[in-house]
């Protein structure tokens, strides 16, 4: 080393200090920053002298001490989640109270491989912070977001706790199933599949599990929804359905804290009933339709008898702490959630431990995270595609209300009308699923220079699921089960790994031009396998009075073992290079460009790499000189972006010729290879306007987008003779277009000392249209949307075809009834309605009055149709002739009991609804006694009511009725009913 240089630097530093000192007649300001709502301290708020870079953060008690030049007369105080404030420096200690704000400009937004301040983001990103999440009974993170983000449409596939959801960002972007967005947790992209084995029970296939089940909702700090291509293109070939980025909480650097929370909930009936006949009406019906011998004299409401009223419990414990050099957080969540129907439960245990520590003068940061989640489910006989033998929901709906479920001697009563006894079904099935998941990551970042940082992320996400399914043989009337019993043991394993290297270079090129360059490499790999073995013919449990061991505990007793099945999915590997450049000139002009090259093992040999560029620009009008004088706006900005994202959700192995083994001595080709197979490409444009008025009184955004999906991955008809009826191609000309407008608006209506009132909401319009959907010059017409049940086997009710929205209903028109009360149906199906909501909206409001907080969240969808398959084939009029219950609508119609069943436009109903998702009131006791801090108690109701004309259980429904791997949308068939729940809870910290 050169001593001279050191010396000169030393002298320079000394001189500069002297100069500053010489210039400054300083003053010291002290104060305390508190929450306007309850006066609690705001920790780590930023306090900066206006016009300087001198600042401090508030301590654990909210206090600060800052020395500023005497010329500074104003402090700028800001904190995440609060409206920033300018405070004049007066003589004494400053008391600053900040108002909680939904305006999120200063919040940090996770933008993929990095973060940015909300105001620096050029794309359409919606960020939802923990404090704004939905409350009440939450089992999976996606429920936190329902009706919180414009353009995000989340539909549960089932009301069963932990069931999968259909998540659409800005419309329906795919003609295939499995088109959910990419989930990224703390930088780790998830596979999207679940290791929960799906086992058939003889009642049909059960709905899938939610891949986010292993996450503790209380661990989540924020969820960012990357909606446009400018934000999602950095995720390349997996970004086309949008990206949902989940960031978990990390410890705080201001001391140790223990947080505890618990809640108890109970089901209080159904959100909405499905109207079948009560006993008196049923008796009238028997007379009306001339049915004899079916009045058993009782008055039974099977749905009530089967309702689960057990208490659900939820316990949370989190310990966090740290100092300037590191922080950690450990948490535990134990919850048991009871489904609407007896016997249906989800137990969930999640432990999470994470931390990050700084070394080498804080140049090196090492972090780690470990999440272990266990879910244990009790599954009831419930399925997407129950046939004529039905399942528990059909047995409940069809139950003759004049017949008891159990006779005086405690024996189940079995009707002879083709419907099962739902209580017996519960007793006869024992179906347990356990899934263990681990998400472990290790992160390192090193500041090579002040401007250049290297980051490494390695993560593994591994899940194992095991399922033991028993159907006991005592129950009569089930082919292959009655008198013999059946059982299956299934296992599944899913492991994905991620390695990400990034280099981040931040530089202020001039005082006015900032540059942020990011480059990186990512390797991602995923493996999935499952196996199962099953048998029938057992010696036990063939009599309800002699139930002993589950069959799955003694499988060797089976008379007949089916050949075990094993499946190992092709390994999926992605190898990607990406880069992002962000420019910010003068806080007025922002420009972001991203580029990703994705290589995928799924792609055909001729197309191994895909390239995804995007560019976004923003003009912060508010910072222009001509706006300086404006008194209205505190933020006004225009955004525009363009980008290309991809979708590679087709079955791995589709590009190669595959030969599969069948049973012994049997092997054959199973697919038509397509070496040209590649990704589906979505090109999108987004224009946005953001604004907020002074002090954040009113804020909002308007976004217009146009998203065009081309190279559509399509199951083309194989040219026979062929080993399969379809194969995957990229359709050359077809376009799937989603165009829409999103309006988000919020206002702080009242900001009095003891009373504040915020309202915010959104409305989003989307138009979905498939064009140029042709092959060999002819319109492609794909029928999908299975209509199931007795009498409608093989009927498909939706079509994917040219110049129509995806999954347009395609049904025979209902023409009324003939003189004999038989329904008349047109001969040929016609386009009957759009199953994709064209309008979605959400509304939230929060009122703080003294120590009370009232929150109400709701939302809905409009402009779409739902097909009521339950009414078509389960509660149709023909049931009453055999003593099965029927729907009130059928009873009130002119139809007679001998009318043929048929799928038709008669059962296509408007899906428009408004749902009050959540209303809660909480009381903030504040600190209590010596140790208890932030004591809070709440009462909350979920799914309190729904306003809709739909006659089924819930218009927000999407039972998987796909056919041949084509998706369906908005069909109701024996859904797991949505419960109205009430919870009460308390939380505090130590």
């Amino acid at each position: 080393m050169n001593f001279k240089i050191v010396k000169s630097a030393f002298v320079g530093l000394f001189l500069s200090l002297f100069v500053i000192n010489a210039q400054a007649q300083n003053k010291t300001v002290t104060g305390k920053v508190t929450d306007s709502k309850d006066g609690s301290a705001i920790v780590a708020a930023s306090v900066v002298g206006q016009g300087t870079t001198i600042g401090v953060r508030t301590a654990a008690d909210g206090s600060f001490k800052l020395t500023v030049p005497s010329s500074v007369n104003t402090l700028f105080i800001s904190s995440v989640g609060y409206a920033s404030k300018q405070v004049s420096i007066t003589g004494g200690e400053l008391k600053v109270s900040l108002v909680e704000s939904s305006e999120q400009l200063n919040e940090v937004v996770v933008i993929g491989y990095g973060t940015a301040r909300k105001k620096d983001v050029t794309g359409a990103v919606s960020s939802v912070q923990a404090k704004d999440f939905n409350q009440g009974v939450i089992t999976t993170p996606d429920q936190l977001l329902q009706n919180k983000v414009a353009g995000l449409d989340i539909t549960s596939a089932s009301g069963q706790p932990g069931a999968a959801t259909t998540v659409k960002i800005r419309g329906n972007n795919s003609v295939r199933a499995n088109s959910n967005p990419l989930y990224v947790i703390d930088g780790v992209p998830l596979d999207g599949r679940s290791a929960r084995p799906s086992a058939g029970t003889g009642f049909g296939s059960s709905p899938d599990a939610n891949p986010l089940n292993f996450i503790n909702p209380n661990d989540i700090q924020s969820i960012d929804v990357l909606k446009d291509a400018s934000s999602a293109a950095i995720y390349g070939s997996r970004g086309a359905n949008g990206v949902i980025v989940i960031t978990t909480k990390s410890g705080s650097s201001t001391g140790t804290k223990l947080e505890f929370g618990t809640s108890l909930s109970t089901n209080a009936g159904l959100m909405k009933n499905y109207d079948v006949l009560d006993a008196p009406t049923f008796v009238k019906g028997l007379a009306k339709y001339g049915v004899s011998g079916q009045d058993f004299g009782s008055n039974v409401n099977a749905m009530k008898e089967l309702m689960n009223k057990d208490l659900s419990q939820n316990y949370n414990l989190a310990l966090s702490g740290g100092n300037d050099n590191g922080k950690f957080r450990a948490s535990f969540n134990g919850a048991t959630t009871n489904g609407t129907i007896k016997g249906s439960t989800l137990d969930k245990y999640v432990a999470n431990f994470g931390g990050q520590y700084k070394f080498l003068d804080k140049r090196l940061t090492l972090g780690f995270g470990l999440t272990y989640g266990h879910t244990s489910e009790n599954v009831i006989p419930f399925s997407n595609n129950a046939g004529s033998a039905g399942n528990i929901i059909s047995s409940i709906l069809q139950w003759n209300p004049t017949q008891k479920l159990v006779d005086a001697s405690g024996q189940f009563i079995y009707p002879t009308n083709g419907s099962g006894n739902p209580l017996a079904m519960l007793k006869a099935t024992d179906d347990k699923v356990g899934v263990n998941s681990v998400l472990a990551n290790i992160r390192a970042s090193y500041k090579i220079t002040d401007n250049l940082e290297y980051r490494l992320l390695y993560a593994v996400n591994s899940s194992n699921g095991a399922r033991a399914t028993n159907v006991y043989g005592f129950m009569p009337g089930f082919s292959g089960i009655s008198g013999v019993g059946s059982a299956a043991i299934s296992n599944a394993a899913l492991t994905s790994q991620t390695v990400t290297h990034t280099l981040d270079y931040k530089k202020d090129i001039t005082t006015k031009l900032n540059l942020d360059l990011l480059g990186g490499f990512e390797y991602w790999k995923s493996d999935y396998s499952n196996n199962s073995f099953s048998g029938t013919g057992f010696n036990t449990n063939l009599d309800v009075n002699h139930l002993t061991l589950p069959y799955t505990n003694m499988m060797s007793n089976a008379l007949t073992m089916n050949p075990p099945s094993t499946y190992v999915s092709p390994t999926t590997e992605l190898q990607s290079y990406f880069a992002r450049a962000q420019f910010n000139q003068d806080d007025k002009y922002y420009l972001t460009g991203t580029f990703r090259a994705d290589g995928s093992s799924k792609f055909g040999a001729n197309n191994k790499y895909a390239y995804f560029p995007s560019v976004g620009a923003k003009w912060a009008i508010i910072n222009e000189n001509f706006m300086k004088a404006n008194k209205l706006f505190s933020n006004l900005a225009l955004r525009a972006s363009y980008g290309v994202t991809g979708n590679q959700e087709f079955p791995a192995g589709a590009s190669q010729e595959q030969f599969a083994f069948g049973s012994f001595n049997n092997a054959g080709q199973i697919n038509v290879a397509n070496p040209n197979l590649k990704w589906e490409q979505s090109t999108s444009i987004d224009l946005g306007l953001e604004f907020s008025t002074k002090n954040g009184k009113v804020y909002g955004a308007i976004d217009w987008y146009n998203k065009n999906t081309t190279n559509i991955l399509f199951q083309s008809t194989a040219i026979q003779p062929a080993p399969a009826s379809i194969y995957f191609i990229n359709l050359p000309n077809a376009q799937l277009n989603n165009t829409g407008v999103e309006f988000t608006l919020g206002a702080n209506l009242l900001t009095k000392k003891d009373l504040t009132w915020d309202v915010n909401g959104y409305v989003a319009f989307n138009k979905n249209m498939l064009t140029k959907f042709t092959q060999n010059g002819q319109d492609i017409q794909i029928l999908t949307g299975s209509i199931d049940g007795q009498g409608v086997s093989g009927t498909l009710g939706q079509v994917i075809t040219n110049n129509q929205p995806i999954n347009e209903f395609y049904l025979k028109k209902f023409l009324g009834f003939d003189a004999n009360g038989n329904q008349l149906i047109a001969n040929s199906p016609t386009m009957a309605g759009n199953p994709n909501p064209t309008t979605t909206y959400g509304l939230s409001t929060t009122v703080n009055y003294k120590k009370f907080t009232f929150v109400v969240n709701g939302g809905g969808s409009a402009g779409y149709s739902v097909y009521n398959n339950t009414a078509t084939s389960v509660t149709n009029i023909s049931g009453i002739a055999n003593g099965r219950n029927i729907s009130l609508a059928a009873y009130n119609s002119a139809e007679m009991a001998t009318s043929p069943v048929a799928a038709s436009s008669r059962f296509l109903e408007s899906g428009d609804f408004f749902k009050l998702r959540n209303a809660s009131v909480s009381y903030h006791f504040g600190n209590y006694g010596k140790y208890i801090k932030n004591l809070n108690a709440f009462l909350s109701g979920n799914n309190l009511f729904v306003i809709t004309k739909f006659t089924g259980f819930d218009p927000e429904v999407n039972i998987d009725k796909g056919s041949n791997n084509y998706p369906s949308r908005s069909i109701e068939y024996l859904p797991y009913p949505t419960a109205r729940t009430f919870s009460a809870g308390v939380n505090f910290s130590l």
Partner: protein, 555 residues
């Protein structure tokens, strides 16, 4: 110094990470083409051949596949809509009423299933099979091409190893017939003379060849079939050689050809083997009785013992009547279902009490089920409303049952005796009855028919064979039997009716009705017809995919 070291380390990390995979896809549970050839060795081609055999089971058994197109389109079978059941968007009614179109799901599924057999059989040829393996594969392919030509009037054929993205050649009509005949002629010498009935041998190939010669005239001109004498002589000579070889004979009990032990039948020439309780490679033969039996037909599974669908028409049932000397038997007439059947000297193929002992566990008898049904204890069964479970032959004219008796209309047909060797599990699950594809009885009746259709008809020779069969079935011998009554397809005195009595519900009826020139005649629940229905349409999807296919006239 330190800095450059850091950079090196950093560079190393980056370089090791980058370029670590070539992104070759590992399939894990399947093999690529080249792996297949290597991994399976010389035995591998046998596995591929077995896959082709396995393909046969499903489409030849399922109620909504070949059976539906060949039987529901005929006067032997239909599926009435029963109030809340079996509407299924009208798919069953349009097949019986002859109003189907090119988008009919069954038309597509049959086309795809047959071509899957076609493909898997052809694929064997790409993996260096032995002469016999190649011959077996080509036999299986010929079996699928026979059905394709018969149903659709044309079929595609690929060369082994073809690029599957290219459209294959298509054979139609006479060219199609010639192709199948030349294939069979070429392979017969390479086939074994004997084998288990589930594997191709010279006899099974010869039976298929006979069917090609017999039907060639109908394939060339379905509206007005003509029969070349050379074809008829081929049928006669091949048939005679099978008869003369004496390896096959008629069973003493007709329904033993279809019961759970039918693997031992001397009459069955080619079958698909099913094993009780074994799901793998099982064709789902239990569907053959489930599709017709009532929900309550078998007490332990009540109320879901059957699917209560498929029935036959009373006119077809009556074709067992007139000339068969059913002593003391009251022929069924609408409204009279209480006729008593004698226990002897009745055409045993009608079933009923003759086969009582076949299913002592259930009371279900093979054959035609009419009137009150009884369980194994002799107790009268009841339907789901508690009314007597008595099958009523009268079906609603539009095939939409709306009456109070809608559950019990239609005569039911149980060809395969329900398998009770494993209790309820085999009744409703994997059952052991082998699916019969070719029977010796067909050899006799084809030769008889060819003798009657030959340039110089040999009626006496034909009657000898017909009476040989009738005697075995305990039906009275006949002294004359015309081919067909073109005014009445169900006229009991004809050879067409004899074939109906022998092969009902064996997926032969449509082919026979066309060959005998009466497929377009009206029969119960099919009032009028259009000549285009002599062929099924090429499914719209298949037509769009392969430009070499030509849509059949009228569609």
């Amino acid at each position: 110094m330190i800095k450059s070291f850091k950079l090196k380390v950093f560079g190393l990390v980056l370089v090791t990470a980058v370029g670590c995979t070539k992104l070759d896809e590992h399939l894990n549970s399947t093999l690529t083409n080249s792996q297949t050839a290597n991994a399976l060795g010389s035995a591998g081609v046998g596995l591929l051949l077995q896959a082709a055999y396995t393909d046969i089971g499903g489409p030849f058994t399922a109620q909504d596949n070949i059976f539906s197109l060949q039987e529901n389109s005929s006067d032997e079978s239909l599926v009435p809509t029963r109030g809340g059941d079996w509407d299924d968007n009208g798919v069953w009614r349009v097949v019986h009423a002859h109003t189907w179109d090119a988008n009919h799901g069954q038309v597509l599924n049959v086309y795809n299933a047959l071509n899957k057999i076609n493909f898997d059989a052809t694929n064997v040829l790409a993996f260096s099979p032995s002469a016999q393996q190649a011959a077996e594969a080509r036999f299986i392919r010929a079996l699928s091409l026979y059905q394709l030509l018969d149903l659709y009037g044309q079929f595609p054929v690929r060369n082994p190893g073809d690029n599957l993205l290219n459209a294959p050649q298509v054979y139609a009509g006479a060219a199609g017939a010639n192709f199948i005949i030349s294939e069979l002629t070429a392979i017969i010498p390479s086939l074994p003379t004997t084998s288990t009935p589930d594997k191709a041998n010279q006899t099974s190939a010869n039976v298929l060849l006979m069917k090609c010669y017999l039907n060639r005239g109908a394939w060339v001109n379905k509206a007005a079939p003509t029969f070349a004498d050379v074809d008829m002589q081929q049928v006669i000579s091949i048939g005679n050689s099978i008869i003369a070889a004496g390896k096959y004979s008629l069973a003493t009990e007709y329904f033993s050809n279809f019961d759970v032990n039918n693997g031992a039948s001397k009459e069955n020439i080619f079958t698909f083997v099913n094993t009780t309780g074994v799901g793998a490679n099982n064709s789902g033969i239990n569907g053959t009785w489930a599709k017709t039996l009532h929900y309550n037909s078998y007490t332990p599974l009540n109320p879901n013992a059957g699917w209560n669908g498929f029935s036959t028409i009373s006119d077809f049932y009556n074709s067992f009547g007139a000339t068969t000397a059913m002593v003391g038997v009251t022929q069924f007439k609408a409204g009279n279902i209480s006729g008593k059947y004698a226990d002897t000297s009745v055409d045993t193929r009608i079933g009923g009490r003759f086969s009582w002992l076949s299913t002592p566990q259930s009371g279900i008898k093979p054959g035609f089920l009419i009137g009150q049904q009884y369980n194994e204890t002799g107790a009268a069964e009841i339907d789901r409303k508690g009314a007597p479970l008595a099958f009523d032959p009268t079906i609603a004219s539009d095939m939409k049952e709306t009456g109070a008796n809608l559950e019990v209309t239609g005569i039911r047909v149980v060809k395969y005796t329900p398998d009770f060797s494993n209790g309820a599990a085999s009744y409703g699950g994997p059952s052991g009855n082998d699916l019969v594809i070719f029977r010796y009885a067909d050899v006799l009746l084809m030769v008889a028919e060819a003798k009657m259709r030959a340039g110089s008809p040999d009626v006496a020779g034909a009657l000898t064979l017909i009476n040989q069969l009738r005697t075995a079935r305990k039906a009275a011998t006949v002294t004359s039997m015309p081919l067909v009554n073109t005014n009445n397809p169900e006229d009991p005195t004809t050879l067409l009716a004899e074939r109906g009595r022998e092969f009902y519900w064996e997926s032969q009826r449509r082919t026979d009705l066309i060959r005998f020139g009466v497929f377009l005649k009206p029969w119960q629940y099919k009032p009028t017809d259009d000549p285009k229905y002599l062929l099924f349409p090429i499914p719209s999807q298949a037509l769009a995919a392969n430009p070499n296919l030509t849509q059949n006239p009228g569609y």
